[in-house]
């Protein structure tokens, strides 16, 4: 009975390694459509390094549980201390982790860096359960908003007396983006916390009431993609969904006008 259990544990562990590795080769992120390839690369590198450790440690676990079973006669090795070995694996692990850290901090600095000067401004305001998207229009300035003015017809409380407000373009659950031009998105919320998630663009940012958070990225390929809400925001959280249309830069103004005219 005892022998069988050790063998089973070894087999189960090997099966785990084989199946986990197999399915990791068949699954990946949603297709990348933005300039954030470095995030994919960091995830890939994490997979490779942790995958190697996963395979190695599990194979050891499997081997030991099969190899070192109690035979009822001999004693285990009396071996419980080896400072050199212990320091070695501590330092090697620390070194690997510091490499990860170094890369991770650089990447984070890059992703959260200030947007380029020519980035196009867009405002996205979450509310239960919709995304209000606003473009500044020809004057390049977003009109003033005042939450006291919010109503059924004016969900984000746009102050229509502000001269910059007249040409603002408003969309609901739709985002039109120009290909190959950086966009900076100012993310806000009217009520509870939402999270603006563009799975194909490696973009996710919580929309927090009382705060405006700015992110930027560059769409790289034309096509239609989805916007999701990633933070539980109430009953309709699951259907707080929108569409991203990435269009060629020269057709952008027409595409935006079409979307607004719908």
């Amino acid at each position: 009975m005892g022998k069988l259990q050790g063998l089973l544990f070894a087999l189960a562990t090997v099966a785990l390694v084989v199946l986990a590795t197999f399915y990791f080769t068949r699954t990946w992120l949603p297709p990348l459509k933005s300039d954030r390839a470095a995030i994919d690369h960091a995830i890939w590198l994490s997979l490779v390094v942790t995958g190697a450790v996963f395979i190695l440690t599990n194979l050891l676990l499997a081997y030991f549980s099969w190899r070192y079973q109690d035979d009822g006669q001999t004693r285990a090795a009396y071996w419980h201390h080896n400072p050199r070995l212990e320091w070695a694996w501590t330092l090697v692990t620390a070194l690997i982790m510091c490499t990860f850290l170094f890369k991770a901090l650089n990447l984070w600095a890059e992703v959260t860096s200030p947007p380029p000067a020519d980035a196009m401004l867009i405002e996205v305001t979450g509310q239960q359960f919709a995304w209000n998207v606003r473009y500044p229009g020809p004057d390049g300035m977003l009109g003033r908003t005042d939450h006291l003015l919010a109503s059924q017809e004016n969900p984000i409380g746009l102050d229509k007396t502000d001269p910059h407000a007249a040409d603002d373009v408003l969309l609901l659950n739709q985002l039109v983006l120009p290909q190959n031009r950086p966009v900076r998105v100012q993310i806000r919320s009217m009520d509870v916390i939402h999270s603006f998630f563009l799975p194909n663009f490696r973009v996710k940012q919580d929309a927090v009431p009382g705060m405006t958070v700015q992110i930027w990225f560059t769409p790289k390929e034309t096509g239609d993609y989805e916007i999701a809400c990633a933070e539980h925001c109430g009953l309709g959280h699951y259907r707080m969904r929108g569409q991203v249309h990435v269009v060629a830069a020269d057709g952008f103004d027409k595409a935006l006008a079409d979307a607004a005219g719908q």
Binding site: A77, H147, I193, S195, D206
Partner: protein, 616 residues
């Protein structure tokens, strides 16, 4: 003081028989209180596990008509017109309460309050906990918390539905989600009772371990379980006050018009939330403040769940490997490092919360560093197994399971610790896979291992080994089949906490995997019946256990099973060595009890090495 004089353990065992109610119900005995905690946690686990099954049914077949479930849970399903489709608000309630109950009322309670109370006096050589009355009070306070949490399902619009993290404004505005009415108030009150109980327990743990250790039990002779209990008590005492403060502030925001977490300008359902003066009712609060306070507790809390399991694993692994624990000092150091670092990592839950990006960098540093002591623990366990003579009894299988889950769940932490990859993975099922494997899985398997190992000290009997092994295999395989595939769907973008994932085009292809996960989860759930049968049958009719059925070395194995009141009938034994002396070739037996005096040769060796160089 108003209460009766404490039945101080030292002399209590000499007293006449107490009435049943004082001995087994309002008990001050650490073993009884530990069992009370444990069984209460089992009941709570049953509830939270059932909620998980309903969550899984919904994720696999969201539009299906569950007529029989609609009869059982009329508030959760649309019963009209022959349809038994789950309501979204019920789904939000399910995942909120599943998380809350599992994290606090099951996986903090069973390993820490349950086994902590059972084992701390036994492993440290004390007659009882330092404050037996406080200990009893702690249990009854905890029970009030359980009752409040369970009652919340039946009040107003149902239980809390803002997630177990209860982020305001969702949890603060009554109109934001139905559970934010009375249910959320009950949630907060239940949590306050829980924290009060946990604090009483923590004080008791720390005091007992510092002051009541028997002669010779120096810190570096303590079993890993005792170290873990000491550390989790310290973590709890330092971290829980932040959550209780946050809970009280949330109560004030909800009921007394303050704005700790509520900013100016809230507009609910297109209507500005105005006060009588025409200005915004709430002014100047910050939703991020709650997140900081919640996770300041929340992250140490993860280790409060896990460290006891890691301690149990070290104790069980060495016993059934019949081999000393490899790298004992580095194991202790690693645990202390994990405990210390756990206070500077909480911001990794907030990389995309809108907090200052510079802050994210600091939290990424702490989070990645915590991988080092965690890896050291795994390497030490593996080294312990090398050259061992392993006996695969039920406790050993669970301990091996913890090692396996700790590897699988720990490695994905390296992905999530890097703030930029976390942008994509945050709030996806990848995170659900990660914490179910490492935190929930390791804690759960640790508890199962500890239960089968220390069962003699709970009830004086052995658990059935065959049934235990069957339970292990069903659970182990079903656990991996349930949670490992969540990595894949998480990478593919599958969100957490989502009532109907197939609203999204990009998630539609994932339904078959979700069905597989759900079937595995159902198998996992049903397999637990084996454990319940084994537990209650063995408690009454299991094979009687002797003092030391596993041929172990610890102090707890030097007294009867179950231990009498006062734990040792005579004098408390003194300790002369560490608890991991297995396979020493200088001794006739393959294990040497902690109470075994040093041999002449050992004394000579010790004198030659100078004082305190070798504790074990």
């Amino acid at each position: 003081m108003a209460h009766a004089p404490e039945a101080h353990a030292g002399e209590a065992h000499a007293h006449a028989e107490e009435a049943f109610i004082w001995k087994y119900v309002f008990s001050k005995n650490h073993r009884i209180i530990g069992i009370q905690y444990y069984i209460t946690a089992m009941v709570m686990a049953l509830v939270a596990g059932l909620l998980a099954m309903l969550i899984r049914l919904q994720l696999a077949w969201p539009a299906r008509d569950w007529a029989f479930l609609a009869k059982i849970f009329p508030m959760g399903y649309d019963a009209g017109g022959g349809f038994g489709v789950m309501r979204p608000e019920f789904y939000a309630m399910l995942f909120t309460m599943h998380g809350t109950i599992m994290v606090f009322f099951v996986l903090s309670t069973a390993p820490v309050s349950g086994f902590g109370n059972l084992l701390i006096p036994l492993q440290s050589g004390a007659r009882d906990m330092a404050f037996p009355f406080l200990n009893g009070l702690s249990y009854w306070t905890f029970l009030v918390g359980c009752v409040v949490i369970l009652t919340s399902f039946f009040v107003g619009a149902g239980a809390a539905a803002g997630g177990w993290t209860a982020y305001p404004p969702l949890s603060a505005l009554k109109g934001a989600v139905p559970g934010s009415e009375t249910g959320q108030t009950f949630w907060i009150v239940g949590m306050v009772f829980f924290i009060a109980a946990f604090t009483m327990g923590g004080l008791n743990f720390v005091t007992t371990i510092i002051n009541l250790r028997t002669k010779g039990l120096s810190p570096l002779r303590m079993p890993m379980t005792l170290w873990a209990m000491f550390l989790v008590a310290v973590l709890g005492l330092l971290a829980f006050p932040a959550l209780i403060a946050a809970c009280i502030m949330l109560i004030f925001d909800r009921h007394f018009g303050t704005s700790f977490f509520l900013p100016t300008g809230l507009v609910l359902n297109n209507a500005p939330m105005l006060g009588p003066d025409g200005k915004f009712l709430h002014q100047g609060g910050s939703p991020l403040l709650w997140q900081h306070l919640f996770w300041f507790l929340g992250h140490p809390e993860v280790y409060i769940l896990m460290l006891p399991a890691l301690g149990f694993t070290s104790d069980i692994l060495t016993n059934f490997a019949r081999k000393p624990l490899f790298g004992y000092k580095s194991m202790v150091g690693a645990m202390c490092a994990i405990g210390g670092l756990s206070f500077i990592v909480w911001g990794h839950h907030m990389f995309v919360s809108g907090m200052n990006p510079y802050l994210a960098m600091a939290f990424a540093v702490g989070t990645i560093l915590i991988a080092v002591p965690s890896a050291v623990k795994v390497f030490n366990w593996l080294a312990t197994l090398r050259g061992a003579r392993i006996r695969f009894n039920t406790p050993m299988l669970w301990a091996m399971g913890v090692v396996s889950l700790f590897i699988s769940g720990g490695l994905s932490g390296v992905w999530l610790a890097q703030s930029a990859p976390d942008i994509q993975l945050h709030d996806t099922m990848f995170v659900a896979a990660h914490f179910h494997l490492i935190m929930a899985g390791a804690a759960l398997f640790g508890v199962f291992g500890a239960t089968s190992y220390w069962f003699p000290k709970m009830f004086g009997r052995m658990m059935n080994d065959t049934l235990g092994k069957a339970h292990f295999w069903f659970t182990f395989i079903a656990y991996y089949c349930t949670f490992f595939p969540m990595h894949y769907i998480g990478i593919a973008g599958h969100l957490r906490r989502i009532y109907d994932p197939y609203q999204y085009e990009f998630l539609k292809p994932l339904q078959p995997i979700n069905e597989f996960i759900t079937i595995s989860a159902l198998v996992l759930g049903v397999s637990q019946i084996l454990f319940f049968i084994n537990f209650f049958w063995s408690a009454f009719a299991g094979k009687k256990a002797g003092e030391n059925p596993w041929e172990a070395n610890g102090l707890e194995w030097t007294t009867a099973s179950p231990p009498p009141h006062g734990n040792w009938p005579g004098a408390i034994p003194a300790v002369h060595r560490w608890p991991y002396e297995y396979a020493n070739p200088d001794f006739p037996k393959d294990h040497v009890m902690q109470t075994e005096p040093l041999t002449a040769a050992e004394q000579q060796e010790k004198a030659a090495e100078g004082p305190s160089r070798h504790e074990h």
